[in-house]
Amino acid sequence: MSTIAGWGRYPIVQGTERRSEDLEAATRDALLVRGLGRSYGDASLPPLEGQTVINSTLADRLIAFEPETGILRAEAGFSLFDLNRLFLQRGWATPVSPGTQFVTLGGMVASDVHGRNHHVKGCFGEHVRALRMRVADGRILEVTEANERELFRATLGGMGLTGHILEVEVQLEAIPSAWIFRESLQVYNLAELITNLRESSLDWPFTACWVDSMKRGPQMGRGIVTRGRWAEPHEAPAKPPRPRKGPAVPIDFPGWVLSSLTISAFNSLYFHKHGRSLKRGVVHPWTFSYPLDAIGSWNRIYGRRGFAQYQCVLPIENDPSVVQRFFEVMTSSGEASFLTVVKDCGAEGKGMLSFPRPGISIALDLPMHADKTQAITDALNEVVIAAGGRIYLTKDALTRPDHFRAMEPRLDAWNAVRKKWDPDGLIRSALSVRLLGDEA
């Protein structure tokens, strides 16, 4: 027995994590499978103290790869870190990458992850060709769009609750080089941010914006827009990028390290360090895609209290001012988000419960302060509900079930599929108990 937590280290439960190289055997009658534990809240936690979850990370064999087509099949515990390490140099990349490479293929499917190229490539699930799953009645099935359409679509973004993912087959993307050509520029307010982000997305496959979330008033929403594409061979260094290992945070920082004051100072510094001019050049793919991976155990900077991520997407077709409202509620709450990222999302994908939809996605990091973090989550969720948006379950630890239902008209349809494949509710997590009404 030991402690199990997501990346936000809130909540933390006592439980057993059982690692196995033989995922097929280990998932027999299993409650839940977790991978590298990078979802932030309670998605990979057992419902009750003392329960056992299966850890998939040792089940990471490659099963098939076709060098002509780029179709890769691997066990669910295979990590994106290894995928990048082995395949970037061969001219293949994952078509969709989240902000960290310390995730497993199984986790990428369960969260139906999106990345900075969502406006062109959609979610990871759009590129998944097949899954091998152990469903609740014990059977092991090959699940594709063609043969089990409902289950396939419910599993993309289904948080591991529709069955245990054993293998994933995905179409990789051919890339001209393993390096990234990047441009970045300052924006000085929210309107400029959104305009710039949307214009950048017309020409660039990767776009996102870091925001100084402490600024209020006319400078609210100032930040740095970053856009990129795979570098052409003539632009890139001749050698493929080498994996890098950065420093790690050795201890839990004390709580005062991240206060409104220090966060504000850091944000200002980061904003002004960039300077007014457009910056451009070829960068290491990790620097571009996974800046935080460079610092091991970075979640420790939030100290023992942990932190809550909050990510929502707000539709802006009808009412673009909703983003303004969201920022006003956030900045007037007195709670400081250390790292805020804004991104424009493209069309909805296949996943029945997948997070992205057209609009503006906003991700916050909130140091955990007992009741205050709950209150700000509630307040932000009310803005999201009023705007017809939704939240990202992979980041969530604090949303209330009635709020979740109010923002998810898709929930009934997904519940019906889950119920069909797992009528007795054998597969559950702390998240499914908190939000979906499962019994612990």
Binding site: E21, L58, L62
Partner: protein, 246 residues
């Protein structure tokens, strides 16, 4: 490098096989289960093992198969220069072994007698070609007689002693006998046990062993910290060892 691996389908052996494959070495797998061998071979091929990965059955409980299995590997690799042994067993906890003579005999036979018989077959073949690497995974459990691992530790103490002897006698003739002493590593084998502080992950462990192989070392602790942990444990007086549970 042209390496034969006994135990390369699981745990540290699998990770070491992957390290070799990813840098384009040739690998031949020995193991007990055909379907597991086949899946592992495919994994290694995709990772970059040169010339495809062939396999054959070999079981530490059947010493009569050791010679033929190594002959097959020799033919398939067109002579190997490296033999790696990571196979072995924990054999249940000490208390249950104390009441089960059969399980005890099995543990002693597999981990000690038969592992050494396998190494002898490998040693003869390596010396015949003028030398090569013999890499054997023992354990820090062999460094000191300890309450929770009396029998398992005894098999590993014997294996460590054998490897040291080989190094002394055959180093001149080109045999590089590398004794690997893993501390607690989080593999499938240790999945049911509570990890102590300084428990290692298979990948960094395999990378460290690979560096030791390339340097031609004769002893390596993995993770490195365990060298110092065992140094201290070896210094503890018997009166203290009798009192503590470790």
């Amino acid at each position: 490098m042209k390496a034969v691996i006994l135990g390369g389908t699981k745990g540290m052996g699998r990770e070491l096989a992957r390290c070799l494959a990813e840098r384009g070495d040739r690998v031949f797998l020995l193991g007990r289960k055909p379907e597991v061998l086949e899946k592992t071979a495919k994994d290694l091929e995709i990772r970059g093992a040169a010339g495809g990965v062939a396999t054959t059955l070999c079981d530490l409980r059947r010493p009569e198969g050791f010679g033929p299995a190594l002959d097959q590997a020799q033919a398939a690799l067109d002579d190997f220069d490296t033999v790696i042994v990571t196979a072995g067993m924990i054999g249940g906890d000490q208390a249950s072994l104390e009441d089960d003579a059969e399980a005890c005999a099995d543990l002693l036979t597999v981990n000690f007698a038969n592992t050494i018989l396998f190494c002898e077959e490998a040693r003869r073949r390596l010396l015949r070609r003028g030398g090569g690497n013999l890499v054997v995974f023992s354990s820090v459990a062999g460094d000191r007689g300890r309450k929770p691992v009396i029998l398992y530790g005894a098999t590993k103490a014997g294996l460590s002693s054998y490897m040291e002897g080989l190094d002394h006698k055959f180093h001149e003739q080109g045999l590089r006998a590398l004794l690997v002493k893993p501390g607690f590593v989080k593999t499938g084998m240790t999945a049911g046990l509570k990890p102590p502080p300084f428990a290692g992950e298979p990948r960094p462990v395999a990378e460290r062993v690979l560096r030791a192989m390339d340097r031609g070392d004769s002893l390596v602790y993995v993770p490195a910290m365990w060298r110092w942990i065992m140094f201290v444990i070896q210094l503890l007086p018997r009166a203290v060892m009798r009192r503590i549970g470790f």
